[in-house]
């Protein structure tokens, strides 16, 4: 390294093209004064994630309202399809349990009202629960609904309350995702609403798709044995797997 020679030519060639107002040598001096740099990948990744969130919030703040609203509806939708596979399974669990469209509608409504309540409360910071516990119970709720489908022919009386209770938990799950994603301070409530709308669209889309596929065969008498029970068992198995995975 020909430091000195290099420095002489700096002024008229190198510095002209790469103007560091603080000289590169400063960095060597800084290293002597501050110590070497360590690269810890986990730390860098965490810093990057936090920076991404800040960037998202900055970009959102600069957008017109309709665009922001659209983005949050989209985010809510994407948190069901494709990212929220556990919520999908829960909703499918409900779907398979219901013989009548009416019963399904009531259950889905109970679920929606419940998760909206906790989503709002948690996003405002009124409710807090450890994420890993919430995630584990969400997995358990899937198992529960699916097992019920296998064991009982008819929807039990207290099923609505249970669905409502599970809805409260799923709301906490959504809230955790939403906080990670970041909510703009100015339009807090309306963006929360938009996110919730997106979640509803996601749920409805799942149900609609399932409905269309199943509609043709639902009336058949083999529906219960060949579709409902095996499907519920598979859902229960997946839920159980997640539950175990999440408590370890």
């Amino acid at each position: 390294m020909k430091v000195v020679k290099f420095f002489l030519f700096c002024f008229f060639f190198f510095c002209c093209s790469i103007t560091h107002s603080h000289n590169p040598e400063d960095f060597m001096i800084a290293e002597i004064e501050r110590g070497q740099m360590y690269f810890e990948n986990e730390e860098i990744a965490a810093e990057y994630a936090a920076a991404l969130k800040r960037q998202r919030i900055r970009r959102l703040a600069a957008m017109p309202f309709y665009k922001k609203f659209y983005i949050f509806v989209k985010a809510g939708f994407e948190h069901i399809i494709p990212q929220g596979i556990d919520h999908i399974l829960f909703v499918l669990g409900l779907f398979f349990s219901c013989i009548t469209f009416r019963a399904l509608l009531w259950q889905v409504t109970a679920f929606t009202v419940a998760h909206s309540i906790t989503l709002i409360l948690a996003a405002q910071g009124f409710v807090q629960l450890r994420g890993d516990i919430v995630e584990a119970i969400i997995a358990l709720s899937i198992v529960w609904v699916a097992i019920e489908n296998v064991l009982f022919k008819e929807t039990s009386k207290w099923r609505y309350s249970i669905v409502f209770a599970f809805g409260l938990l799923h709301g906490l799950g959504f809230a955790a995702l939403l906080t990670q994603y970041g909510l703009p301070k100015d339009n807090f409530i309306s963006m929360l609403l938009a996110f919730n709308i997106g979640v509803e669209f996601g749920q409805l889309a799942v149900l609609l798709l399932a409905f269309i596929l199943i509609k043709l065969i639902m009336k058949k008498n083999w529906y219960s044995n060949e579709i409902k029970i095996p499907a519920s068992l598979i859902i229960a198995a997946i839920g159980l797997f997640w539950f175990i995975e999440r408590i370890i």
């Binding site: 430091v3 030519f9 008229f12 107002s21 603080h22 960095f27 004064e33 810093e47 800040r54």
Partner: protein, 730 residues
């Protein structure tokens, strides 16, 4: 068909058709927006059709740099050959101007690489940096030692009177020729040989100096038990425990691991030493750590730097003599704003007396505290941080946490933007749809008062583990008017603490001053409006380029300005007057010490570089102590850098240049005084004069001429003495 009724029906539905069409269109549009670049070709070998020619950061991968550098150097040499082998007689246009056009690819890759290797680096980039450094220096050697090229430049220069050149062209011609001459173009073969011998000797010695210093700094550690931590705060203890566990992880033998188990480690790195010296109540340990710091390179072992420093100084003197200068300082200063050692000494001596006088008052203040605590010792160098902190609490106490809520990053940015708006009518519009190299980097378009595009400003403010420490300004694109109007892309990089959670980032006042400082450099790089890129923006001499940055700092501490942007992030209340007063008062704390240690190092630098080539090899310690005795340095203060760890001058490029910081401070205080005299810190006439004679000029004229153009006379030191509280008023 009947089996899939949904699909048939939807295709028959006109609404559905429209929806699908729109979706497809949107998809195509979004694909096009994402990438205009061919992913199979190195982005440095493609045109950048990005908005404002911002580098396509997402397309640039680590493996693209080296091939681009190699190709860039090759093209650069070919371009030089074309100029040299031009059969036409040398003219300003076919030689000097053509030279300006060379090295485009090299600069394209070099700017991106040198920026990212500092602000968003990784082990791969660091390795590349080590690999590239000698390659680049060899490359630039080939150009500056190219005789054919020099002959053409010299022929034009000899004939300069008859060429009808503009002022800017004359300066460019002079600078270009001077660059060759200073590389030895006018020397005889024997002399050239000796110079290159000296250069390689110096570079070897410089490298050893740096390596020794690194080894000496890393080599000492103060390993403490839990019972030795008296006075230390939780944060400092945690950092020391962290350092110990890091050492334990790195240790190879169990025995060595035991050495660090449940211990606390402090080192002579400033970041570790200063908190310890400030907080620890164990005087014996303070002395031990402090001495380890000041004795670096002076331990008479394998990594001793005394003789190396003396040899470097002697070789430099010899080289200067061959080049036709009296001493190395004369040689270096010839390129600066202050032209001779006499001018530099004159400046340093003028400042020295008031600084030492103030330092003596500070010693007395500290002694009073120590006495009142019932100690019967004389305050020594290793006591300075501990007792000055007590004086600070008593006299200058400033609760940082009370100030921070008024200084959110967004408010401060608005403040600095408004300042330049009031000075020069600039406007900043943040751009949200350009992806940079890191999501924390933000980008603004800068427009002039008439609305025209002036440049791009990138601000990358938060600290992160893959960013180098400190703060700096750099650029991704230069300014030039040679082939059409090219406007710059400048960047400020800082290391402010990142915000916690969803709260806004809150800065300390020091951070605010740093932000204004770097923004001043950015303005120098943005307002520049010169024809030739090599003279644009911050290309001026080292003792001048800190003027535009340090000058802007003054507006940050101007109460009227501070009040306009420092509003509480929650309540919107402006900062109370009482806080402002405390804040400004606090800036006078410890100035005797700060200035004395700095001036001592500057004088040491000058003394080492005004020795004659014929002098015998100096004994470094004797030389240093004589040099300090001559000016009357007090025992409680050591030079900011002693000879054996003065890397700035023996391993870096600051030889005979360490004074630059204070010289720029003289300039900025005096320049700001002009606004004070006018009674308006946004005086319109002065503002536009400041722009036209300093910020827009780059290095197209001699720095002193630029200053005189603005101020109407040469700089004086009195305003600086006042700013630093050295005028005897404290």
């Amino acid at each position: 068909m009947s089996k899939s009724p949904i699909f048939t029906s939807s295709f028959n539905n006109p609404n559905m058709k429209r929806l699908i069409l729109i979706t497809v269109l949107l998809f195509i549009v979004s694909c096009q927006q994402k990438s205009k670049m061919d992913p199979n070709i190195n982005p440095f070998f493609q045109e950048w059709n990005t908005p404002y020619e911002v580098p396509p950061f997402l397309d640039i991968k680590d493996e693209h740099y080296m091939p681009a550098y190699e190709q860039g150097m090759k093209e650069n040499l070919e371009e030089i050959d074309v100029i040299v082998n031009n059969p036409e007689a040398p003219t300003f246009a076919n030689t000097i101007e053509e030279l300006e056009r060379t090295g485009k690819l090299l600069s394209k890759v070099g700017r991106v690489f040198s920026n990212l290797a500092s602000s968003n680096t990784n082990p791969k980039l660091q390795e590349l940096q080590r690999e590239l450094s000698p390659m680049l220096s060899a490359h630039y050697d080939k150009i500056s030692l190219n005789e054919g090229l020099f002959n053409r430049v010299d022929a034009i220069w000899q004939n300069r009177e008859n060429l009808d050149l503009t002022k800017e062209q004359t300066k460019l011609l002079n600078d270009t020729r001077k660059g060759f001459v200073r590389s030895g173009a006018l020397l005889s073969e024997n002399q050239k040989e000796r110079i290159s011998e000296i250069n390689s000797k110096i570079s070897g010695l410089s490298t050893s100096f740096g390596q020794n210093l690194l080894a000496e700094t890393n080599g000492f550690e103060l390993i403490l038990e839990a019972s030795d931590l008296e006075g230390l705060s939780d944060g400092v203890i945690a950092a020391a425990a962290d350092a110990a566990s890091q050492k334990m992880d790195a240790a190879e033998s169990d025995e060595e691991k035991d050495k660090y188990k449940d211990k606390y480690v402090f080192t002579p790195h400033r970041s570790s030493m200063y908190p310890f010296l400030t907080e620890s109540t164990r005087r014996d340990l303070r002395e031990k750590l402090y001495n380890s710091y000041v004795m670096r390179g002076d331990n008479n072992n394998d990594t001793d730097n005394k003789e190396i420093a003396a040899q470097i100084a002697k070789l430099r003197a010899e080289r200067a003599q061959i080049m036709g200068y009296k001493t190395h300082a004369h040689f270096i200063l010839d390129d600066n704003m202050l032209k001779t050692p006499e001018e530099v000494y004159d400046l340093l001596y003028k400042l020295w007396k008031p600084a030492v006088k103030r330092a003596k008052v500070e010693v007395a203040d500290m002694q009073a505290v120590a006495d009142s605590e019932g100690h019967d010792f004389k305050v020594a160098a290793w006591d300075w941080w501990h007792y000055s902190e007590k004086v600070r609490k008593e006299k200058y106490d400033l609760d940082e946490s009370a100030i921070k809520p008024y200084l959110s990053l967004d408010n401060v940015l608005q403040g600095v933007f408004n300042t330049t708006n009031k000075l020069w009518g600039l406007n900043f519009t943040e751009i949200f749809d350009i992806d940079l190299y890191h999501p924390d980097a933000r980008i603004w378009e800068v427009t002039d008062k008439d609305g025209s595009h002036l440049g791009i400003f990138i601000g990358d403010y938060f600290t992160r583990s893959n960013k180098r420490g400190g703060a700096w300004m750099s650029s991704f694109k230069g300014q030039s008017n040679l082939d059409g109007r090219e406007r710059p892309i400048v960047v400020n990089v800082c290391n402010f603490p990142a915000p916690v959670g969803d709260d806004p980032a809150l800065l300390s006042f020091d951070n605010v001053v740093t932000l204004f400082h770097e923004f001043g450099h950015a303005m120098h790089g943005t307002l520049t409006d010169v024809k030739y890129g090599s003279m644009a923006g911050t290309s001026g001499p080292r003792d001048f380029i800190e003027l535009p940055s340090q000058l802007l700092e003054h507006w940050a501490s101007e109460p009227q300005v501070l009040k306009s942007f420092a509003t509480h992030y929650e309540t919107g209340e402006p900062i109370p007057d009482e806080l402002i007063e405390k804040l400004l008062n606090a800036s006078k704390f410890n100035q005797g010490f700060i200035n004395t240690e700095y001036l001592a190092a500057s004088l040491l630098d000058m003394d080492w570089h005004t020795i004659s080539a014929d002098d015998e090899l100096k004994d470094a310690n004797k030389f240093e102590s004589e040099s300090m005795k001559k000016v009357g340095l007090i025992g409680e203060i050591a030079p900011r850098y002693r000879t054996t760890y003065f890397a700035h001058i023996f391993s870096g490029g600051y030889s005979s240049g360490y004074y630059s910081y204070v010289h720029a401070a003289v300039l900025d205080s005096d320049a700001f005084e002009a606004f004070k005299e006018a009674g308006d810190v946004f005086d319109p006439d002065l503002s536009s004069k400041l722009r036209s004679s300093i910020y827009s000029m780059g290095s197209t004229e001699e720095a002193m001429d630029l200053f005189v153009e603005f101020r109407g006379r040469k700089p004086v030191i009195e305003p600086l003495l006042k700013v630093r509280g050295l005028d005897g008023s404290e």
